[in-house]
Symmetry: C2
Subunit: 179 residues, 2 copies
DNA sequence: GAGACCATGTAATGTGTTACATGATTTT
DNA sequence: AAAATCATGTAACACATTACATGGTCTC
């Protein structure tokens, strides 16, 4: 899971030169759902990649506003392609909603049901966000970025559906128990 | 996303008293897929929870082997139930496989297809692990822990299915392009 | 002229993993 | 008798977020 930010930068720059700010926008818009990055990571890593010869920075002021635009060097392009061909290092999830679901047995029937409902509500929120992105970026998000977006939407649709099923199952059990 | 380990400990102890080692086993067996915890977090947090009156530790040697068994105090039980009723703080994913998928356009057709295939292979691996857990813990994993497991299995089945579809779609595109 | 946005950066803080250290017991 | 498992703990390190600091420009 090491050197993650570097790959985000390299990948972002492939679609054309960008400032640190631009990269942050891309991250917040798209990759944040599976790979977040803060300025505190981005800017130092940009310098490191320049020092390492993987990217080059040019001063490109916009109006009177200073701005450094970065682009890939051939070395950087190779590094990106090499990384893409390597097996993925890993996968980490930290999901408080699921943790609550796991322990929901500590609550009584209807409160436990509430945990599932809250979990679903959260995922419906994410689903809405993803659909907003899809609407906004209909043009830009073609090819693989669009595929990743489709993945996220489909995944969250599945999750919401699963929750609804479980909620029904639990409701029926509660009814039976109440008799 | 703060104080996460505390809730894992509280939840784990609800099903009966446990040593730090026991809790680590539970984490590695079950919650690790959505909430991991290392000894470096667990042991200090156990002390903190004792100091805070949420759990109590008793020396219960097993043979000549020292062992401290922890159990919930009423305070701890309340804290667990309160936490369960609160809205979930969040949700974080760091998925290198998806990041590669997102940038796979930097590779040529069949290499890009390889990224999807590698992604699927990884998820098939996780699916196998989850099914192993299900087989091993058929008895213990009833109720909500079992539900969380079902969720994980269903989710990964969906993912594998999605990958197969995409692989076909890309294959067809490659064939057309080759003509 | 106020507020949003573009733009860059760092320091403090928080969080979590890895490696190391130690030692008993049980299984093969 | 070796290897695996039970059991507890800490120190060093890696990684990431948050808050802060600064200042220009664009839009209402």
């Amino acid at each position: 899971m090491k050197a993650g930010v570097a790959n985000v930068i390299l990948g972002a720059l492939r679609q054309g030169p960008k400032s640190g700010y631009d990269i942050k926008q891309l991250v917040d818009n798209a990759t944040r759902f599976f790979w977040a990055a803060s300025y505190g990571q981005l800017y130092p890593e940009l310098r490191r990649l320049v020092a390492d010869g993987q990217i080059e920075g040019t001063s490109r002021p916009r109006g009177g506003r200073q701005r450094t635009e970065y682009r890939l060097t051939p070395t950087g392009r190779d590094a990106l392609r090499t990384w893409l061909r390597e097996p993925a290092a890993g996968w980490e999830v930290r999901d408080e909603g699921l943790l609550k679901l796991f322990f929901a047995g500590a609550l009584e029937g209807d409160d436990a049901l509430g945990v599932v409902r809250a979990f679903r509500a959260d995922r419906e929120g994410v689903l809405r966000q993803l659909r907003d992105v899809q609407r906004r970026e209909a043009k830009e998000a073609e090819g693989f970025p669009g595929l990743a977006l489709e993945y996220g939407i489909g995944l969250h649709e599945w999750i919401v559906g699963w929750c609804l099923e479980i909620e029904e199952r639990l409701s029926r059990q509660l009814e039976v128990a109440a008799r």
